[in-house]
Amino acid sequence: MVKVEFFGLYRLDLGVAEVRVEAESIKEVFEKIEKKYNKYTAEELKNSIVLVNGINFLKLKKSRTKLKAGDTVFIMSPASGG
């Protein structure tokens, strides 16, 4: 299982701070979140700030980043208002 932490709008909107999912890649995490909550699409989630064990997924292989059991994925929607 992978631990997925939500922050920002996702956490406030979905009303959950974290969830555990079976996933072997970030892409699969996005797809499972889309299916589970039917609120944000995998495409929308791709445009988030995503950290895998504290490392920006842009530094890894973005959506193609492989995951293993025990990994933590942090997903946040950046704020843009002033």
Binding site: F7, N47, K59, M76, S80, G81, G82
Partner: protein, 210 residues
Amino acid sequence: MIDKLHKATLGKTIVIAGLGGLGGYAAAELARSNISTLILADADSFELSNMDRQLFCSPSTMGKNKAYVIAQELVKISSANIVPIEENLSFANGEVLKDADILLDCTDSVSSKLELEKLASYYGIPMVHAAIDNLYGQCTVIFQNDNILEKVYGTKERNTLPTLSFVPAMLASIQVAETLKTLAGITTLRHKLLVLDTLNNDLRILNLKV
């Protein structure tokens, strides 16, 4: 340390782009520092929908330009030279940054934030970015050629979400603290994004380094 931060603004010129929720609170706090010049840039005027969260919005300031109103108010409490620019800061009028020491991004769109990052980089000054939505917000400090905001936003515009007064107040205070620290040579948020969820009192520091 307090002395160091207090002295850090001595004789400095600070520019605030965007005088909405964040910019109003940030301007009010910076006006009480030792700065020499505070330049305030925003083309917008106060409107009814600003009443719930913008410090200088009142029935008497409704319809008036935000930069102008805030400058008029802050000269009452500050000895600094406070200069309103009734335009949005961009490359078209960016030469005001030539003699500035630091820029605060308090604007409310991804496109303006990306442009300001490039503008600050062009003039070789640091930019303290903040943004808010709903009940959360973020802050980071960007130095020349860091190009951080594309890593935060991509290039996609986003919808801004309604918020409440304490959210811009909290994030603006963090932004002002980072401004003073940066001027004092203390860098704690370079390549890092401070994110604050005010509903859950959850504050994190994310590593943005790529």
